[in-house]
């Protein structure tokens, strides 16, 4: 421990200017973040250039700080004085870890606490979010930067390596959509992020420990390159269906789901169609009916896979990105896929079978919180702090909510309560927030500790308040379905231009 502190003190002496700069930026981040809380009721007004700049400068300052402290005792090479001195590698590693904890992690922890306090959250109540942010900071930033620094002998080498790495990622990102390899998974994206982080941690920790213990730069660089390739090519290869299967195995509330069934929705037969799209494709839409949903719950489809089968013809399979094969509007769900015109012509007169799986999330435990207009912020469970008011420049009513750390998991609906309620005036301006995340973790991968969202109502009239309704995800399930004897020709639609 004495040696650890001795090296730590030396690093502070040497890097005092870099430390001062990083602390100054962290302080500015805390100040600006707290100030954003004050401007909270004016969404848009607080998305200033300064805040954006700080979100760029803070990681940059940390990046420099981590690189400089690791490079103070560079690991690759054979000329550094310290390798033949009585350094204990654990003490050296401990000194570097202590430095990063004190000058990177601790300032962010304090800044986050200051910001959420300014928004009206209690840092104690948000402790899991605060701490999980630290874990994510370590996994997504500190460990990979530190690992890269242990593999390079100086800042220039690190910059060049980072540039090469960034160019590789950029090229990959540019080419991936062309290769159909990468598609954004709305609610399940967190699983891909955490898979990547797991790989990053699994590579970074051995690289750092091995470098400090043995200084085997060639071997550790190989691990680094392999991990990078795995993150770039392995993580996007994770099938969506596997991600959903993992999600459904995570602890959830006990709900009897046995009654849920999927069938062809004969009441919406009109919505079924085989629509010719140009010469090459026919878009097939088939309305689905989800029955047996437990009372007090709602289902939201997340994905669909299907095989369209006909006798004597090879089947058509749609499953690559399952969430693209359905349409969902309010409570109406339809299978939605495009097939080759050539294949379609072979089966259009035949009775075909649709055999597949619908992936659903069941929401329940609904709660409604009423927020009086122009009152103080009200705590809305699973959402955060919300306030309601006239909303300057945005119609007659607006609800502003701020959420600490955790990405939204609940379905959130807003409505506005008229000042005078009679038979003709009921709640209006109903809206629902999309883009959820099923992540079970208490914080997301963002430097901003608080996310803000709002809803407003442009209808005329005075409002007494707003109601925020939340529905919690209870379970994620997969239901098989089989729809037989559909003759697609019966639903054929050929659109012709109107002259």
């Amino acid at each position: 421990m004495r040696q650890t502190l001795h090296i730590f003190r030396k690093d502070i002496r040497h890097l005092r200017y870099e430390i001062a700069a990083a602390l100054l930026i962290a302080a500015a981040f805390a100040f600006a973040g707290a100030r954003r809380a004050r401007d909270f009721s004016e969404p848009g007004a607080n998305q200033g250039f300064a805040w954006g700049l700080l979100l760029f400068l803070l990681p940059l300052a940390w990046w420099i700080l981590i690189a400089r402290v690791v490079h103070d005792e560079p690991l690759p090479g054979d000329r550094q004085f310290w390798v033949t001195r009585p350094y204990a590698w654990k003490s050296l590693l401990g000194a570097k870890a202590l430095f990063i904890a004190v000058f990177v992690h601790l300032p962010l922890l304090v800044a986050d606490a200051v910001i959420i306090q300014a928004y009206g959250f209690s840092p104690i109540h948000q402790l899991t979010g605060l701490l999980w942010t630290q874990v994510l900071l370590a996994a997504a930033f500190v460990l990979p930067v530190a690992a890269l620094s242990t593999l390079t002998a100086g800042l220039l080498q690190l910059v060049l390596t980072s540039l090469a790495f960034s160019i590789a990622v950029l090229l990959y990102n540019l080419s991936a959509p062309l290769l159909h390899r990468y598609a954004f998974w709305p609610e399940l994206e967190w699983m891909r992020i955490y898979s990547a982080l797991l790989l990053v941690v699994a590579a970074s920790v051995p690289i750092i420990v091995w470098q400090y213990a043995r200084r085997k730069t060639t071997s550790t660089r190989t691990i680094g390159v392999a991990a990078t390739l795995l993150v770039l090519f392995g993580v996007p290869a994770l099938p969506w269906t596997t991600a959903f299967a993992i999600q459904s195995r995570l602890p959830s509330k006990r709900v009897d789901l046995s009654s849920i069934q999927i069938a062809f929705d004969s009441n919406r037969k009109w919505a079924a169609r085989a629509l010719f799209q140009g010469k090459d494709q026919v878009r097939i839409e088939l309305p689905l009916e989800i029955t047996g949903i437990p009372s007090g719950t709602e289902v939201k489809p997340d994905g669909l896979t299907v095989n369209i089968e006909a006798a004597g013809v090879r089947s058509w399979r749609a499953d690559r990105t399952p969430w693209t094969y359905f349409e969902n509007e309010w409570n109406a769900t339809s299978l939605d896929t495009a097939v080759d015109t050539g294949w379609y012509r072979q089966i259009r007169n035949e009775p075909v079978t649709f055999r597949g799986s619908l992936y659903l999330t069941l929401y329940g435990d609904g709660r409604t919180t009423v927020i009086p207009f122009q009152s103080r912020s009200v705590l809305v469970p699973n959402v955060g702090l919300c306030s309601a008011g006239p909303g300057p420049g945005m119609g007659n009513g607006a609800v502003f909510c701020s959420s600490g750390f955790r990405p939204r998991r609940d379905l959130i609906s807003f409505s506005f309560i008229p000042a005078v309620q009679d038979g003709s005036r009921t709640r209006t301006g109903q809206s629902r927030l999309e883009f959820l995340s099923y992540s079970p973790f208490p914080a997301g991968l963002s430097l901003e500790p608080v996310t803000q969202f709002f809803s407003f109502n442009t209808e005329p009239g005075a409002f007494a308040g707003a109601a925020v309704q939340t529905l919690e995800p209870l379970a994620h399930i997969r239901r098989e379905f089989e729809i037989r004897d559909i003759r697609l020709r019966d639903f054929e639609v050929r659109l012709t231009p109107i002259h």
């Binding site: 030396k10 004085f81 001195r85």
Partner: protein, 288 residues
Amino acid sequence: MNDIVRTVDLSKRFRSTVVLDCLNMAVPEGSVYGLVGPNGAGKTTTLQILVNIRRPSAGTAEIFGHDSRQMSPCDFAQIGYVAENQELPDWMTVQGFLRYLKPFYPTWDSARAAELLHQFDLPPNRKLRHLSRGMRMKAALASSLAYRPRLLVLDEPFSGLDSLVRDELIEGILDGAEGATIRISSHDLGEIESFASHIGYLDRGRLQFSEEMSSLTERFREIEIVTATAADIPTNWPSSWLNKEHSDSVVRFIDTQFEQERTMAQVDRLFQNPKKSRLGRCLCAPFL
């Protein structure tokens, strides 16, 4: 005498290039062992393996009886290592550097450190980056002598230094490392022959010989023969005669296995009626 450094079949290869080939050598405690050889002979690699900067491809190197790969901070607390082009923390002052190193060494002698600063005429408040090459070597040496190491490993310490600085360093080494074993490498034997007690000669990764200086100087003789007539150059030279030169009636060579009677008999056999023979004691740098 105990061997403080020992290598057994030590080999090192970088891909297909063999840098060290089955090196077997021992350095007795208290000796000043000079490892000499031409550039690229493997001297630096040998020393780097000894202090665990590099790992051997095969064989073992031991210091204080411990495998060099397993050396602990306690072992390093007894070793001083100074090498040309060693990277020092340039942002530190000379005094700051010594002050920083002090807690690492239980045997650090502050008075000795101050004395070394004075002896080497080192400016205590000057940053290491502002020191000349010679001064940096002195600072590195001072930082390696202040804790009275049991073993001092010096890799080409005099390379590129003027003779004045070199003499100062040698004096410093001899004064400061009293009782220590010194392992020094150089491509120029002339630099170290004045104070080395043992010499090992390394060539293309192979140890050609390793022995005490006294026996070496006995064994190596420069022989010059003057003949009455222009010498007939013999073809069947003994293999131990090296660096053979001639000019009209003068022939000169170095016998590496000198024994007076045997050598003179060989001379008589090869050269008809040598007019005069001159035998010079020589452990000459040009040869090595």
